[in-house]
């Protein structure tokens, strides 16, 4: 079971603003998702490693060779605001 407090906690971590109605709905829907996952625990899983990836290929690594980066104007095109050749954002401490 996920209660309202837990929904609000996770919402704050995810920077989501939920209405009162949404909090209740999320509590019941997320609980249903967890219940569904719980069914896995009915299986005998001793000694079975968790599946972190569905494909188990060996390291897909990239050679350490530089390739051109984006021109700055292009990188900054999606910035909310630009100052001093950088992405200007509200100060996190403010």
């Amino acid at each position: 079971m996920i209660d309202r407090a837990e929904v609000l906690h996770v919402a704050r971590l995810a920077r989501l603003e939920l209405s009162e109605g949404e909090v209740d709905r999320m509590a019941s829907e997320l609980s249903a998702v967890l219940d569904h996952i719980e069914t896995i625990s009915e299986l005998e899983l001793d000694g079975v490693a968790p599946t972190s990836h569905v494909v188990e290929v060996g390291s897909a690594l990239r050679a350490d060779e530089p390739r051109p980066s984006l021109p700055r104007e292009e990188a900054l095109a999606s910035a909310p605001a630009v100052a001093a050749d950088g992405f200007e954002v509200p100060s996190p401490g403010a």
Binding site: S59, L61, E65, D85, S91, P92, G93
Partner: protein, 474 residues
């Protein structure tokens, strides 16, 4: 009742690869802002990371250098939190399956070593120019995505001074592994400390706090000292230590709480679905092992156990490999001179004269220094005169015996010459001589000094003392 500090360190080392951890943008330091970015390191939708082979290799090299167990399979996790220097909304790090586990450097055990990507640089602008009270911030993504290795120690360190010393050993180790510039001022080596205190003799750990971002070796020591003092004061006043993250301000020496623990540690890790597991093959490990140099801790241990050098000399020679190599070259030619004596000449006298320069590039040939050390051993020159010879060797090179000859620096032996000098010194210092005769042994100093001056340091001080006493009849 005394208190014992318990300290563990978390060190971030920026790897000096050519490109970033998960994209092909070139690493840069000091380039104009936002000139080394791409959709991957800007966290744009639809972009996919691919791990850098060299970063994995450097990680393995560090693991081997620290004696860790290398995981044949490790995976990346997403560490979720929001901050403007983290465009993806998560850092790609490693969680329960890191690249390396266990290990040891010096007397400190290593808990784990893992790979991750660095955050961007956040420049705070506004009224005060500092984090608190700033109006807006500017993000430079050049640094974002730089490969980082995080090294976590066990809580094996017992004082702020030892923390600093160990960190210097770690830096030298990283430098000699050639995996990082390890420059604290430039941020390529960063250190956080977990600090707690407990009553001496107690085995349980106290509540710890985390000290962040101490950007010099001196600040690491001062920050930990300040935090230990703060915790001891709290406990002695009967108050609890609260688990929190603290920022040390070197200007004021104060510690301020950074953020509430509740949110800070709720990172909701989950396996990074965009990256396949890292499979380390025995061939990869062997290739890295073949590149490993002899590291400072091993070299220092070898000097201490095989050559019986003092811990200080062993460290001095091991922390600068060029000094160590030179020392070994002199020792080989020194024909049975005690290793400690050779170490003193190389790590002390010669290193003081050469500063940071490599002695192998200096005018002092290992042969010449070996002969000079032998001459001191045979009392053909005094230590004082030999220092003058070394000055000449550093300036012009050459053969020590020839310099001794040309400068008249040969030791004034027993015999009449020295006895005459002693007689003259006693005559020149009648007051001192009277006091010595009267039983004031320490009054002998001016007489000996007189002889040493007259012989330009070429007399053996022990022999001079013996002769002065003999002539004064004490």
């Amino acid at each position: 009742m005394s208190w014992e500090p318990v300290i563990g360190l978390e060190i971030h080392v920026q790897l000096k690869t050519q490109t970033k951890m998960f994209c092909s943008c070139e690493l840069s330091f000091g380039d104009p802002p936002n000139t080394h970015t791409c959709p991957v390191c800007l966290g744009l939708p639809g972009s996919l990371p691919v791990a850098n082979e060299a970063a994995i290799r450097f990680g393995l090299k560090i693991g081997l250098g620290l004696g860790c167990e290398l995981a044949p399979r490790s995976i990346f996790h997403r560490k979720n939190y929001f901050y403007p220097d983290l465009p993806k909304g998560y850092q790609i790090s490693q969680y329960d399956e890191p690249l390396c586990r266990g290990g040891r450097l010096g007397d400190v055990r290593i808990h784990r070593v893992h790979l991750e990507d660095d955050a961007a640089k956040l420049v705070h602008v506004g009224a005060s120019g500092r984090i608190h009270g700033a109006d807006s911030s500017v993000v430079d993504f050049n640094r974002g995505g730089t490969p980082l290795v995080e090294i976590v120690t066990e809580p094996d360190i017992r004082s702020a001074e030892r923390a600093r010393e160990w960190l210097i050993l770690l830096r030298e180790t990283m430098r000699q592994l050639e995996v990082s510039d390890v420059n604290m001022e430039e941020g390529s080596l960063r250190c956080d400390a977990n600090v707690s205190v407990r009553r001496a003799g107690e085995s349980e750990l106290g509540t710890k706090t985390e000290l962040k971002n101490m950007n010099s070796f001196r600040f690491v020591e001062r920050g930990i000292k300040a935090e230990v003092a703060r915790q001891v004061a709290l406990l002695e006043a009967g108050q609890p230590v609260v688990q929190e993250t603290l920022h040390f301000d070197p200007q004021s020496g104060s510690l301020t709480s950074l953020r509430s623990k509740e949110e800070a540690h709720d990172y909701r890790y989950f396996p990074e679905p965009d990256l396949v597991p890292v499979a380390v093959t025995p061939e990869m490990v062997e290739a890295v092992r073949a590149e490993l140099p002899e590291l400072p801790a091993e070299r220092a241990a070898r000097y201490e156990t095989e050559l019986a050098l003092s811990a200080d000399s062993a460290r001095a020679l091991a922390f600068r490999p060029e000094l160590g190599r030179y020392f070994e070259a002199v020792l080989e030619r020194a024909d049975g001179a005690p290793a400690q004596t050779v170490a003193n000449w190389v790590a002390g006298e010669l290193a003081t004269r050469l500063g940071d320069a490599d002695p192998a590039q200096s005018k002092v040939a290992p042969d010449a220094l070996a002969r000079l050390v032998a001459m001191v051993g045979e009392k053909a020159v005094t230590a004082g005169a030999a220092r003058q010879v070394l000055d000449r060797l550093v300036a012009d090179g050459g053969d020590p015996a020839a310099i001794v000859e040309a400068e008249g620096l040969g030791a004034v032996g027993g015999g009449d010459e020295l006895a005459g000098a002693v007689r003259a010194a006693i005559e020149a210092n009648p007051d001192a001589a009277e006091k010595v005769r009267g039983g004031k042994a320490q009054a002998i100093g001016p007489i000996i000094g007189h002889v040493m001056r007259e012989t330009r340091g070429a007399a053996d001080a022990g022999e001079v003392t013996r002769l002065v006493r003999e002539q004064l009849g004490v």
